[in-house]
């Protein structure tokens, strides 16, 4: 019961935040609602017992990426931009197509639930009985044993992105 209330709270906040990100005129407001949405998502992770991901989401997404966004929004002076038209001309087409996509995906989900041959989404998830290791240790073991090469590749990707960002941000190269 409590879990369900929490879920609906976080889910509603996440979706509402997402919608406001897309509709807000001012980029800083969009960023604030994106932060809300991301935090709500972090809450969703908690309801899924993924507490390490909860923390990672806050540290990396909220404390890292979003700071970068806000930083750039402030550097890029948007006083002028506020008075410009915020949406493209193809808004309606795009909106319709997106809703069509949503309807399609929802239909697929509904079909999957009803069909017996489709993917079994309905059965209650089987959670292993309280595992000896905590969530953090499990992820750590996984990352540093099974996925150590992807992990290193990701770190190189970050390094490349770092260099790229520095080069892009430089005035004269």
């Amino acid at each position: 019961m409590t879990n369900l209330i929490l879920f609906y709270f976080f889910a509603g906040l996440a979706v509402l935040g997402g919608v406001l990100v897309v509709t807000m005129r001012n980029a800083v407001h969009s960023a604030v609602f994106l932060i809300t949405s991301l935090l709500a998502t972090a809450g969703l992770y908690l309801t899924l017992n993924a507490e390490f991901l909860f923390v990672v989401q806050i540290i990396l997404y909220v404390g890292g990426i979003m700071v970068l966004f806000v930083f750039v929004i402030m550097l890029v002076n948007l006083d002028v931009a506020l008075h410009q038209v915020q949406f493209n001309r193809q808004t309606w087409v795009a909106g319709l197509l997106s809703f069509a996509l949503l309807a399609e995906l929802l239909a697929a989900l509904a079909l999957a639930r009803s069909s017996s041959t489709g993917m079994q989404l309905l059965p209650a998830p089987h959670v292993p009985a309280a595992s000896v290791q905590g969530n953090t240790e499990q992820i750590g073991t996984l990352l540093f044993q099974n996925y150590v090469i992807p992990f290193e590749i990701a770190s190189i990707l970050l390094l490349v992105a770092l260099v790229g960002a520095v080069v892009m941000g430089k005035k004269r190269i």
């Binding site: 997402g18 919608v19 949406f87 989900l109 941000g169």
Partner: protein, 100 residues
Amino acid sequence: MIPTSHYVVVSLLLFTTGVIGVLTRRNVIIILMSIELILNAVNINLVAFSRLVGSVEGQAFAIFIITDAAAEAAVGLGIIIAFFRNRETVLADEMDILKW
């Protein structure tokens, strides 16, 4: 225990919102933010299914996606800064000369 389908629906909604944002907004920064929303929707799915399967691999994948998002944001915002410095705009449909 909340059914996995609930999470999938939330993820779908977020995903669609993100897609709408990417397709309709003119401001590149907001487009980037919408991409973050999409990535986030994917993460919810991954974590939800990871619980369904009963392993944490999905969470590990989510961490990779967050890493990707960070890299993408850094480079994307770097490009926006560079572009703004030269062209004084952050609107996607004004970025139309391919080379400057």
